[in-house]
Amino acid sequence: MNTLPVGATFTLSVALYLVGALVSLASWRKPALCRYICCGSALAGAIFGGFAAVFEILQGTPVRWSISSGIPLFAYSFDYDALAGFFNLTLAILAGAVSIYSFSYLKEFEGKRNIGFFGFLFHLLLLSLTIVFTAANAFLFLIAWEVMALAAYGLVTFYHEDRETRRAGLLYIVMAHIDAGCLLLGFALLMQVSGSAAFASFRTAAVHLSSSQQAVAFVLFFVGFGIKAGVIPFHIWLPAAHPVAPSNISSLLSGVVLKAGIYGMARIFLDGLGILPSWAGLLVLIVGVASAVLGVLYALMEHDLKRLLAYHSIENIGIILIGLGAALVFRVAGHPQLAGVALIAALFHTLNHAIFKCLLFLGAGSVLHSTGTRNMEELGGLIRPMPVTAFCFLIGAVAISGLPPLNGFVSEWLTYQSLLAGFGATGGLTRILFPLAGSMLALTGALAAACFVKAFAITFLALPRGAKSSLVREAPRSMLVGMGCLMVACLSLGLGATWFLHVFDALTEQLLGQRVGTNLITGSGLVLSAGVRHGGTVSTAVIGIGLLVLLIPAVLLVSIGTRRFASRRGPAWDCGLPGLTEDNEYTATAFSKALRMIFSVLYQPRREIQTVFDVSPYFPKAIHFESEIEPTFEKRLYVPLKDLLLRFATRMRAIQAGSIHAYLAYIFVTLVLLLLFGVRP
């Protein structure tokens, strides 16, 4: 294969991002022009980034180059290998869709907000993500990592007028800095063993790592990348930060920025730390299961559309970690083929989640754009004024619930197959963990389906609930085009999953030393198998065709009736009451009430009803209903810790109490102690 211009297209895409950032910052005075520059250059950068990724995947061999940096001791070195190619492909698809979407989304900023600054941060985010995925030495990786966090902070607090946004932004940047601190320590530990900052040297030095050093490094990296990926104990910032960001940014945050944590784990666990012990893989698996189940359970209780989607990001990250954990366990148990399947399941779900989560956030964004509110209780009946948005949101909902024939189903199917094989491949008691993880995954899938039935139905179906959702227009054209591309990507990845698996050949060979991608495809390219002889097989293409073919007899059957009598429109059954109004509709809180009762142990629901009446309680003028679930992680873990630190700090303040005698006493005591310390022979 002649060498495809990977380096050239990559540098072109980086240059476009840089130029785009500076030009949009410069042209902030003219909002209209600035909007086109910002979205145009981002789109161009994304397209070239995509080309670079595709060329790299086709070519298979990694491309390495480095530029001498202005700073001595540290060079900017890049290593564009298959893993970097895959994540850059994800970034390119999303960046392209979001920039198309932003063409008209930014129109509402024109009078009120500084589009130039937004463009600058947007390009900075894309640029830093590209570099994070391709950095070859720890120093460059850490700089890009923190610039990504800072750009994301700037974007999350773009509407910095209201307090909630500022607090969410600060929480985001503080947690991001904690994980940067963990990574800093992890890399320093590795560099101490390997001597140099390059990832390649980590690979070779991994064998010299003592088991305790490897364990400490693993924990540091897992905490660091876990915070960025929003894994369960550290997920606090995610449901706060993603909803308050502008919608096109929160889609990018949930789609790709979370995946930087997954990329880090893949790069370091599979490539940097050598063969991790099996307890590490199991820890990742267990944390994955916890994140998946708790993520979806918390999502069910939300009636703010974007917070619901943010919690679902936690759930899907959990599913990805299940795949990754299984891959780690298989690798140490000596089954590279199964590890390959599990890794493909994890990475394929990363791509799928990026696409349909971005689609859903863009859908929520256009709903917010048209109605001005994120609260589902005030929405309803939007399918008539916004048919295209509704259809895209529906496709996203079906995909995220993992229902065939879309892409969510394919990656969850692969995860099930790897868990099933896991029971056979591993020994001892841990074998039981895999099927249990499988059943928890099924629970998560079903709860996700319930959650998205609620989200879609309450927002789009039946009668509009509030004044806001009654007089509504469809989202502007470019937003629909943006969502359309992603919807098409969902469908094509779902139906054409088998053609897409070739992408993983080079990747699995590089990380696990065994080409896995193509041997999962059988049945003349239509059927996806689990790699085991007589193993489970599925073909979304045939399912899709089957569904269409069977549609014909159904339509024929219905036409018998409709030929004789035209279908009429009548009022729904209202038990004889004077006609149905929107008050009779089911609300989001009511829909999730059954689950709130069943999982009340987790939620500790609290309910408050005040009836306002003047004559007797049986004729209330107004009823005030308030229900709330207990945020266990904040209440049990973070708030006590905060109070502990607070008390410590208040005690420490007494040192600077203002009296000069006390100050002199400190110095005097130190002097005498040190003199005695210095005197000993």
Partner: protein, 228 residues
């Protein structure tokens, strides 16, 4: 008059004077009157100048004479006069008492003298050094004690002026240490140090005056507004 050349005699005189300086310093710790503590400082400075003179005389080190003269003029005469004038002009209540009551603070300064000796013994072995035992070697322990007790008086006193006195007695301790260890620092350095001490005291004097104006009392423990 041969005893004038006899180093043994010089050594005895120096030790006597150093002991006297130490006693005065401990007395100053428990002192209740402002003016008398200034006078104690003046006597101490005079004794130090004398010690310096004697060491210069016996060791024929000319530059110590300059230092002795400077100490005599500055610390024995000029500064006490300025400070007393300052006290007479602004302070009505001359009577002061330390933060920690007198007997305890004297006990503490006793312990500090002990610490001074322990520190001096640890590194200064005049007996086996190759250079002939220079005169006034045993005053190092007194110097360190003077330094520590001076520090303690700053810590112990409420009045701004007494803190300045504490700082000056601290400087005296250093001057004595310098003489006893190495016949004083090189001349230029000696001059620099004297100049700095002088300017420091002048500035502290201005500050005391301004604090007296602002807080209409020299009590430093009132200065507590800047907290945390």
């Amino acid at each position: 008059m041969t005893f004038l050349q006899d180093p043994e005699f010089g050594d005895r005189i120096i030790t006597l004077m150093a002991a006297l300086v130490l006693v005065l310093q401990i007395a100053a710790v428990g002192q209740r009157w402002l003016v008398s503590s200034i006078r104690i400082f003046a006597v101490q400075s005079f004794l130090l100048a004398a010690i310096a003179g004697i060491i210069a005389y016996f060791n024929h080190a000319s530059h110590i004479y300059v230092a002795a003269l400077l100490t005599l003029i500055l610390k024995a005469a000029l500064l006490p006069w300025v400070l007393e004038r300052l006290v007479r002009r602004i302070e009505i209540r001359r009577e002061i008492e330390p933060l920690i009551n007198a007997p305890l603070s004297i006990l503490i300064s006793g312990c500090l003298t002990l610490v001074g000796y322990v520190v001096a013994q640890s590194f200064y072995h005049p007996e086996e050094t190759s250079v002939r035992a220079a005169l006034g070697h045993n005053t190092l322990a007194v110097a360190i004690a003077l330094f520590l007790i001076g520090f303690f008086t700053m810590l112990n006193r409420r009045k701004a002026l007494t803190q300045v006195l504490g700082l000056l007695s601290l400087e005296n301790g250093l001057f004595l240490a310098a003489i006893s260890l190495t016949y004083g620092m090189p001349l230029v350095v000696e001059l620099g140090i004297f100049f700095d001490v002088l300017v420091a005291v002048m500035i502290l004097g201005i500050l005391v005056f301004r604090i007296r104006e602002a807080f209409d009392s020299m009590d430093v423990s009132k200065l507590r507004k800047l907290r945390e």
